[in-house]
Structures are given as C-alpha cells and as structure tokens.
Subunit: 313 residues, 2 copies
C-alpha cells in the first residue's frame, strides 16, 4: 500500500509535513510506504536530518510547482499540472498510490478529485466528512462539513447513505445510527431542506435512520452518522474543535476534550469519489499529519469507496 | 417596573418557576415587582412556604388554563385566552407589565408576541437572540437562534442592525462589532444567502460590520453581534451550551465553562417586537428563572425595543 502525501501543502509546509511523515514512517507495517510529493531538493534536505533507516519507507516524487492557499482551484490546477497537488492526483488516478493526502488548498483538492478520479456514478455531489469524538467513545461521522454550503434534500439523503457505509466499513459499526442535525426532535421541525431530507432519510431502506438530533447532542453518543448541509456542518464542526483550544486557554487538560483537537484525527476524507482523498487543516502540525496518514491507511484497508460505489450501482 | 412571569410554563413548572421568582424577589430594588401568572391556588400554596416579607414584591394574577409544550401555538392561543401565556400577553399589551417571561411553549410565546404587541414596523421577521459568553469577557449577542430556520439575506442584514442596537443599549457597548457567521473569511464564501447577506451588511451605514467569522471564533471575543440564520444559530448555540454539560460529565469545573451553562443567562429575548418578551429553556431551573428576571429588568431599563423602533422609523 502506498500513501501519497503533499509535502508542500499547508501553512507550515514543507517542514511540518515532512516531520509528520517521518513520525508516521516509524510506525508503518512492512506493507505500507509513503510517497512524498514536492520539490525534491527541499524534501531531501529535510529528510537528511534523519537516519537512513528511519526514512527507508519514504519515497520521493518530484513536483516543481506549488498551488498556494489563496489560488483559484480550477485555474491553478489547469495552469500548474506539475504542482504537488496536480502530481498527487495523477499518481492516484494511475493507480500508483492508494490514497492522496494534503493540507494544502482545500478547493484544489476537491476540484482535483472531481477532475481526476471523478465522482462515483450516482453521487449527486461528493462531500467532506469530519469525525466528531463522542463522550461515550469513538467518533461519529459528520457530513457534509463544508464542500456544499447549499444542499438539496436528495443530497442530504445521500450523505446519510454514504456516511453509513463509511462508518460501517472504516469504523466497523454494524447498522450505524444515522441522525439528521436539526433544530427540534419532531419531524416537521427545521428548514425546508431539513424537513424534506427527514422524509427521504426515513424512507431509505439502506440506512438505520434514528430521526433528528439537536446541537446539544453533538458529542453525546446518540448517533454514528450526523447528516447536515455543509454550511451548518462546517460552523458546528469548527465550534466543536474550538472546545479544545478554549479548554487549553483555560488551563484545562482532559482526555475527552483533547479529542476535540483537530490533530487527534488529522484529516477529513472527501467521500463520493473513486478513490481515497484526504484533506487536512492548513495549520496542520506534524502530529496531525501523522494521524492523517493513519486514517488514510485505515480507509484504504476498509475499501469504503468501493463499497459506496457498489451500493449505488 | 413590573416583570410578568409565566408560573405554569416549563418542564418543572410551577415549582421551579416560583422558586426562581422567590430567589429573584430577594434581590429586587424597591422599584421592581414581579407578577406571577398562573393558577392562583397552586401558586399561593407554593408561596406560603416562604416568609410573607420574602414574597412581598410578588403579585399574583390568575390564569386558569395552561398551554402545554406540545400544543400547536396558534390554535392553543386562540382556544385558551385564559392560559398563563394568553394572560401574560394581555397584560403586556395593555401596558400593565413592562416585560413578559416564560419557560413554556416557545412557539406560543413567539406567536403570542406577534399577535398581541406585534412586530415593530419595518421589521421583516422578529428573531430570537442568544447570549454567547466570550473568553475575553462579556457576551456576544447571536441572532437568530431559532425563530426563522430559513432566512432571506435582507433578514440577516436586519438582524445585524437589531443586534447592534440591542448590544449598544442593553450591554452598553459603543459601536458593537457585527460579524456574519460563515464558512470562510473571504466575502465570496458561504451559502448563497450568506454571500448576499455579507454584501448587505457591508453596505449598511448603521452598523460596524467586521466581516465573516467562523465556527472556531464562537467564544473567541472577536465580535459583539453574531448574525446567522435560525437553523445554524440554533444548532451552534445548543452545541455551545453543551460545553458546560460535557465539562460537567468529565468532572471539570471552570469559571468560563460555567458561563456556557444555559442557567447563567437564563433567557433569550424575542427581538423586533413592540415590547420585552423573554423565553427560557423548557428545563429551566430556579437559578435560570432568577437570571432570566435579571435580564428582563436590564432590558426594560435599556429600553432597547424603543431604540430599535426609532432606528427603523
């Protein structure tokens, strides 16, 4: 198994990325190697600080260009085929790597996935999934957390199905409990989109829909899959992550609140595309990168995207 | 000044309500009295447990009916004019009380306000404001937190103006910083409604618009007024409140996290109507009721609703 990582993407790239990759490499099984994509000379210099044995399972692939965080995704991708993101998607599309991860321009990652490996047939819109730690243990899969600010009810219903398959295969949860984020427990509550989505989710035979959940249930362990529009999902997800930074500012250290730290999972998969694509926070630290690689490995092993494609075919 | 309180509304009514009113009464200045509305015999029995002097500034007004939490707001209000909520709005409309507070049926409180004291002329839709504790001190006013699940951009722009006036007069903040909750800092980010609202807020000369804020800034002290649709506002506000219960479950006690407890403010005003109407959580405890009464007094003193009406005229 080969996991490709964009060495040049992120606010602290390439240093933090290479550091995280080296941390991950120390724990990899023999079957896994990491493909670092970026300016070869820069990466080599950073890797040379480490023992040869410590970086033996890291391969380099050169990419001369970088897509900056502020660049327009579609324009940047077409103008810079030799950017680390462009090269990453080429490797992924050609089957030379099993997953591609980046902390760089999120829009470029999304567009790159759509243009290279493409959306799974039948998927209305791919989405981004976030992992919400639950106080009862484990994580809930929340989707969408930002790819689609405006959603149609049919998209939310599909997020429920996609999230359910992902939770089943990647987290090993039998019959995942799927809930719709809403502003009341009754089915007639909420926005027009949420009301219509509730009916579609209720009618779906492919999922175990448990009804609406409210904002206060976010960490409460009531659901395995949380369905919401990208706008609400993004704002809630970031608020949830801020529990960690707020607690830290208050000098509080707690095992559960520590899990709300973005670093503890490190990445968010784009779901509904024909391959494993994982994006990370721009501010990603080495620990976040290391954990993102663990997630990528788990996702490749679970083969969730093939299961999603099978379910939709 | 007279503050009317619905004795019969809320999951733990009338006991918790009466208890909270007695707590508040102990700290009232001479100019303030509380008008308790509900079944006279029941309330009298509860008040008799206290010294006569402790309840001297509490008046009773009888109301034979109760609107249950599950009842349809409009239907219940027309069929039960002698309900505690119906009587409360009659007193408020007739100018016999300066504010009306209830932990009962939120929909009935909203509809009751619209039917009795009515929306201020020029207000597109009244909204509900929530108070978000800020780690830098004080609270931000967030609106809407649930009255309008779907909003038009013009509504969001107006929430900005209403919230700004409220923050100025009730919290004494000069030129309140107004921010739009969004999923990115750039103005072209977000849902179609958020994008259009951003432009309207930017063009408004009545407010100090500081741009978008993100979910992670919720507690960060970046804004005094947080503008958002009722759907996102409600889910985020409830998630923010869950910080307290999550911390408590983890055995954490902290001065700031304690402020995320709904009890610490106790109530949410309906803004954009011709009077002071405050609603509280159904689960309200005596402490929450006591704090809701403090908020009502502050709001009456600030005369914010008149200032809002003047600004719109």
């Amino acid at each position: 198994m080969k996991i490709a990582v964009d060495a040049m993407g992120g606010d602290f790239a390439p240093e933090a990325i290479v550091e995280g990759v080296v941390m991950a490499a120390a724990e990899l099984s023999e079957q896994v190697s990491i493909v670092l994509i970026g300016k070869q000379s820069v990466i080599q210099e950073l890797l040379q600080k480490h023992d040869v044995s410590a970086v033996a399972n890291i391969e380099l692939v050169n990419a001369d260009d970088i897509i900056e965080m502020s660049e327009h995704p579609t324009k940047a991708l077409s103008q810079k085929p030799n950017s680390s993101i462009g090269v990453g998607f080429k490797l992924l599309k050609d089957g030379q790597v099993n997953a591609f991860c980046s902390a760089g321009n999120t829009g470029a990652m999304h567009v790159g996935a759509l243009f290279s490996i493409k959306a799974i047939e039948g998927i209305i819109r791919p989405c981004i999934a976030g992992f919400v730690p639950q106080i009862t243990g484990g994580h809930a899969v929340m989707l969408d957390i930002g790819a689609n600010a405006d959603c149609k009810p049919e998209m939310l219903a599909q997020f429920g199905e996609v999230g359910s398959i992902y939770a089943q295969y990647t987290f090993g949860i039998e019959r995942p409990r799927v809930a719709l984020m809403n502003i009341g427990s009754e089915e007639q509550k909420g926005s027009l989109v949420a009301q219509a989505a509730h009916q579609l989710l209720k009618e779906s035979r492919r999922i175990n829909f448990i009804g609406n959940m409210e904002g206060g249930d976010f960490f409460a362990g009531k659901a395995d899959v949380i369905v919401t529009e990208g706008f609400t999902g993004n704002t809630m997800f970031k608020l949830g992550e801020s529990f960690y930074s707020t607690a830290k500012q208050r000098g509080i250290s707690d095992e559960f609140l520590d899990k709300t730290n973005y670093e503890s999972v490190g990445g968010s998969p784009i779901l509904g595309v024909n391959g494993n694509v994982i994006i990370a926070h721009g501010v990603s630290s080495p620990l976040a990168i290391k954990n993102m690689i663990s997630l990528a490995i788990r996702q490749v092993e679970s083969d969730a995207y093939t299961k999603i494609a099978q379910a939709l075919s």
